[in-house]
Amino acid sequence: MKIDISHIAKLANLPLSSTEKAKFEKQLGETLEYIEGLNEIETKNTEPTSQVTGLENITREDIAKPSLSQKEALSNSKSTHNGFFKAKAILTE
């Protein structure tokens, strides 16, 4: 089984050192091997279940209700600017 651990780390936006990469690559391989037993279960005609109690299409009226204030929403951010969260640039010229 080929695992591209750097690709996974990039997808997960997870900073991993080279030692960690080696460790988690090995453990991921072992865990994937462990769960192979699942293939013993025949599921060709079985529907997947994602919601166990069977609720479907739960909606509410689209009415605005009181929410957190801007100040509260920003209260835990280390970096704000004019009432906004400040993040690093994503797009470059």
Binding site: N13, L14, T31, I35, L38, E40, T46, Q51, T53, E72
Partner: protein, 473 residues
């Protein structure tokens, strides 16, 4: 009588009769916490100042004749429940300075019911584990033997209840995180049906599995807290619109009408012999009390480890994606090994080309497990099994075990995957003095039945010698 040793029912009676005040009760708990925390480390945050104020306010309400289900009762809450103005870390350094600007629905309901919040309890970081050893703030110790682990992830809550640091506590379970630490610490832990209790404001782990619930000294207390917590919440679309029962008023079940299913698949090869013996004795007692014991064959729980590992780690990788250090908390370099391991696996399982092979396959086998339980519940009312295949393990046991939590919780994973109701009750002790727990599993939304069976068992074994034991701390 030390006030902190009381359960909710006893404490309510004492408060009502003016035998003592909520302030007396709260101070007794805080004294016990101060005495034991150096040994146990059950708390991440102790909210002494707020607790004393809340106790005084509760005393005023009591003297004005107010009657609320938890008025003046000191309670601790696992540190993955958002608490307005009180640090909430999920035992991770990523959130070591996070102060939520709102309360989780569970917290709001407990406040409305009059509780005194004593503090936030320690847990496996992000609830990833079954030992409380992966907490970034150090492991919690088992009150029955501090060289052993309390289980997890709600290990702080279970240890605090077992050590009488609190009158009751709140935990959350994804697969085992209430029942397993309750088993290892010798207390009552209820995992309600998925969607019976709101997840709003709980730091998410596996969103299709997470179920908050009470950890208490008695079954009756568990029923009382569930009454407060349960119900539909418009902030959590997966909460059920089914009516909430008067659980604490309906704790009776004629054992002669009860059909109990036992599956030998749940007495796995690796099971501790003392655990097995104690559960078999408990089953014999149920039979003596009139219950009809039936052998059933459940789907081998070993497959639940695979299903749970895939579903939970996939949902973990998605839920932890929000921790970017921009809006709150520290950056992703603050995650420790267990979280990283689960994010790596989940990201892999959900990445392009692997969805059908892993997540979808697991959700299909989830259907197989649900159907298997449905078939069993056509024949029996409840299923009884050991909660954990082992006694509380020694501190250090989970180090470098890449799948410790998932494997340790083999006996609670199938029912969690199917969203069923389940409860752990203590049934005895090992020769070494560690608690042994039994789980009672019922169909979805069978909390009334599961609690009633647990209550009957507790009542009929009330005079057994081991019940007099207290941790020697």
């Amino acid at each position: 009588m030390k006030l902190n040793n009381l359960n909710i029912k006893e404490a309510r009676k004492g408060l009502e009769n003016k035998d003592f005040s909520s302030l007396d009760l709260t101070k007794a708990c805080l004294d016990q916490i101060k005495k034991l925390e150096g040994k146990l480390n059950a708390f991440v945050t102790i909210t002494e100042k707020e607790a004393l104020k809340q106790a005084e306010a509760a005393d005023e309400l009591i003297s004005s004749g107010q009657d609320l289900p938890l008025l003046g009762i000191p309670i601790a809450i696992k540190d993955n429940f958002s608490t307005l103005g009180i640090k909430t870390t999920a035992s991770s350094k990523v959130l070591d300075s996070y102060i939520p600007p709102y309360d989780a629905t569970v917290v709001k309901k407990l406040k409305d019911a009059g509780m005194v919040l004593l503090g936030k309890t320690n847990m496996d970081a992000w609830a990833h584990g079954s030992s409380t050893e992966t907490s970034d703030f150090g492991p919690t110790r088992n009150p029955w033997n501090i060289n052993h682990l309390p289980g997890g992830s709600s290990g702080g809550s279970a240890a605090a209840v077992a050590a009488d640091e609190v009158i009751a506590a709140i935990g959350s379970e994804t697969a085992g995180s209430i029942r397993q630490p309750a088993s290892w610490c010798g207390v009552v832990g209820l995992k309600p049906t998925y969607g019976r209790v709101s997840r709003y404001g709980v730091i998410a782990m596996g969103s299709s599995l997470d179920s908050p619930g009470p950890i208490t000294k008695t079954v009756e207390d568990s029923a009382l807290i569930l009454e407060v917590l349960a119900g539909k919440d418009e902030k959590d679309a997966t909460t059920s619109p089914l009516p909430v029962g008067n659980y604490s008023q309906k704790l009776n079940k004629n054992m002669k009408e009860l059909k109990v299913g036992i599956s030998k698949e749940y007495f796995v090869n690796s099971i501790d012999k003392e655990v097995q013996g104690e559960i078999e004795r408990a089953i014999k007692k149920l039979e003596r009390f009139g219950a009809k014991i039936e052998n059933i064959k459940l789907f081998d729980p070993k497959y639940a480890i695979d299903v749970y590992t895939i579903i939970q780690r996939s949902e973990v990788s998605s839920n932890l994606a929000r921790y970017d250090g921009i809006r709150y908390g520290n950056g992703r370099d603050y995650f420790k090994d267990e979280a990283k391991r689960r994010i790596v696996f989940g990201t892999y399982a959900l990445s392009s080309g692997y969805y059908d092979q892993y997540y979808n396959k697991a959700q299909q086998v989830r259907t197989v497990i649900i159907n298997d339980f449905n078939k069993a519940f056509e024949k029996v009312d409840v299923i009884i099994a050991p909660t954990s295949p082992s006694l509380a393990l020694p501190v250090g046991a989970t180090k470098d075990a890449a799948m410790f939590g998932e494997i340790a919780d083999v006996l609670v994973e199938p029912s969690s995957i199917a969203g069923l109701a389940g409860i752990n009750i203590p049934v005895g002790f090992s020769k070494s003095g560690l608690p042994i727990g039994m789980q009672i599993i019922g169909p979805q939304f069978s909390e009334e039945l599961v609690l009633s069976v647990a209550y009957e068992y507790e009542k009929l074994t009330q005079n057994e010698e081991w019940r007099k034991l207290k941790p020697n701390l």
